[in-house]
């Protein structure tokens, strides 16, 4: 039971401590300095409310997956299209990016002669094999990866705070647009805490345990990111931090030289391993749940405890992107940003679902009473939507982002409509409610 709790906390923290988060944090700290450290607690607050909403909705539908409460509140097509837009697209694109990043780190920091391309493929293959054949090993690997990231960052922070450095940097004034953009970016740092939700069927009391795991994950990751952000701010010149494509490595190198570089290399490898493992594991389970609930066409080999086909599909997608050299294309980052924005939108729709279900007589009484509930959900949803709009508005290459979001939406809606058609045609789930089938 303790291992399961540690595993679910590790799952919820994996994406928040990914290499991408460290880059986003470093660049934002460089651009806005201490102001960004004030935005992080606000983002934590918003995502804590989102996590609580998740927990309450999971308790309303204890046996079904997340697609079920989206379907009840918003209808089947959003319930199919929204997770496909956010999670599935993000998993394939972000896994490609993180694996390639891990390949570069392994090649440049540890073994110069080893091709980065080969390392990325081996890492993906090992993660697939572990997830296919040894679930227990995958769970332990998840805990070890996240623990390594935490310990590595804490170690570097302690060294940075204990040692005396000749110069500590201060920031110049930050303009309003930059500050607002950074505030919106802060929300992206905490995307992915809901990965722990895929463990719902392993839990006797999903509301209590899952909410606790997600909350612990958000708070721990938030505290660690704040600490690392503070250390980066006082040890690295802000302009260098803002411009660097690897601000975390730059900070580590300034703190401890070659040893810091190696420590950060280990952190990045563990972070990439943890994040890709968490994405493959959770998103494949979600896809299996959606197929089980009739929201996706039946996926061969999909059984409740072994989402074989979704796992192969996600891995094949990632491998194909790496083999096609997409990692070297700037479009990859655009698609990752699009996936993250859809994920934010997904959170806003979770709040909307809670508000809609609250109005229904069959669900309303089971949700918390009082105006505080409604006000906090409306506020949280508004802030997430404001963040979404702000990130679109201040995007440097808005045309490419909108284009990629349109492509993802069309594909997901197409799958949603086909899925819906097949679902109705099959007649397998005539009683269109998984809850009543139990």
């Amino acid at each position: 039971m303790k291992l399961l709790t540690a595993f679910s906390v590790a799952l919820s923290m994996a994406l928040m401590l990914s290499p991408g988060s460290l880059i986003l944090l470093g660049n934002s700290i460089g651009a806005t300095c201490s102001l960004f450290l004030l935005f992080i607690p606000v983002a934590i607050g918003v995502q804590i409310i989102t996590a609580m909403t998740y927990g309450q909705l999971h308790s309303l539908f204890p046996r079904g997956g997340e697609g079920l409460f989206l379907k009840e509140a918003l209808g089947p097509i959003p319930a199919i299209a929204v997770p496909l837009c956010s999670r599935v697209c993000f998993t394939v694109c972000a896994s490609t990016g993180m694996l390639v990043t891990a390949g570069f780190v392994f090649n440049e920091v540890f073994v110069y002669w080893f091709p980065n391309f080969a390392f990325a493929f081996i890492m993906l293959g090992v993660l697939l094999a572990i997830n296919l054949f040894e679930n227990r090993v995958a769970e332990i690997l998840q805990i070890v990866s996240v623990l390594t990231v935490c310990l590595g960052l804490i170690f570097l922070c302690i060294v940075a705070l204990l040692h005396r450095f000749p110069v500590e940097f201060t920031c110049s004034e930050v303009d309003f647009t930059l500050a607002m953009r950074a505030a919106c970016l802060g929300l992206l740092l905490f995307v992915g805490f809901d990965l722990a939700g895929s463990l719902k069927r392993n839990r006797k009391d999903p509301h209590e345990n899952l909410t606790r795991s997600m909350l612990v994950g958000i708070v721990l990751a938030g505290a660690l990111l704040c600490l690392w952000g503070f250390v980066s701010m006082i040890r690295v010149p802000p302009d260098k931090l803002a411009e660097s494509t690897i601000p975390h490595t730059l900070t580590a190198r300034i703190i401890m030289g070659q040893s810091g570089r190696i420590t950060m290399g280990i952190v990045v490898l563990a972070a990439a391993c943890g994040a890709v493992n968490a994405l493959l594991m959770s998103v494949s389970r979600w896809m299996a749940d959606m197929a089980f609930e009739g929201l996706l066409p039946f996926l061969p080999g999909t059984v409740r405890n072994r989402p074989l086909f979704p796992l192969l599909l996600l891995t094949a997608g990632t491998a194909s992107m790496m083999a096609a050299g997409i990692a070297g294309s700037p479009n990859l980052d655009t698609y990752i940003r699009a996936g993250l924005l859809f994920w934010l939108l997904h959170y806003a729709l979770i709040h909307l679902s809670a508000l809609i279900l609250k109005k229904r007589t069959q669900y309303g009484p089971k949700l918390p009473q009082g105006t505080g509930y409604m006000v906090s959900r409306v506020l949280s949803m508004s802030l997430i939507l404001a963040g979404f709009i702000g990130l679109m508005w201040w995007e440097n290459d808005a045309a490419s982002l909108i284009k990629s979001m349109a492509v993802i939406s069309v594909v997901a809606l197409g799958i949603g409509l086909i899925g819906r058609g097949l679902y109705l045609k099959s007649g397998k789930f005539e009683n269109n409610n998984y809850e009543r089938k139990q």
């Binding site: 990016g97 390639v100 990043t101 570069f104 780190v105 440049e108 920091v109 391309f117 493929f121 494509t245 690897i246 490595t249 570089r261 061969p300 080999g301 074989l308 192969l312 094949a316 491998a319 194909s320 790496m322 083999a323 096609a324 050299g325 997409i326 990692a327 070297g328 294309s329 700037p330 479009n331 990859l332 980052d333």
Partner: protein, 95 residues
């Protein structure tokens, strides 16, 4: 049945990877190359231009960037190629 499906997916995946590696290798063979020792000797010469054409993650994730190198987008060749003279030695660096 399940085993056969698993095998098919892996065969397809392997074909894809080998094809990607083959295309990369063939494309790399077409360009004349310069040894790093020679490049080191000529560093600092005004007639030598080093262009880093890595893009996306290949450039962003790498810690190793030659200091004198200019970073250009390989997909946007027309917009920057005119900046350099034909008499100059242009070293294109992509990995």
């Amino acid at each position: 049945m399940m085993r056969a499906k698993f095998l098919i997916v892996w065969v397809l995946l392997s074909i894809l990877i080998i094809w990607g590696a083959y295309v990369k290798m063939v494309m790399a063979q077409e360009a004349p190359t310069m040894k790093k020792e020679e490049l080191k000797k000529r560093l600092g010469s005004p007639e030598l231009i080093i262009v880093d054409v890595r893009s996306g993650r290949d450039w962003k994730a790498s810690e190793f960037k030659i200091k004198a190198a200019v970073h250009e987008d390989p997909n946007d060749f027309d917009s920057w190629s005119a900046k350099y003279r034909l008499e100059q030695t242009i070293v294109i660096y992509c990995a």
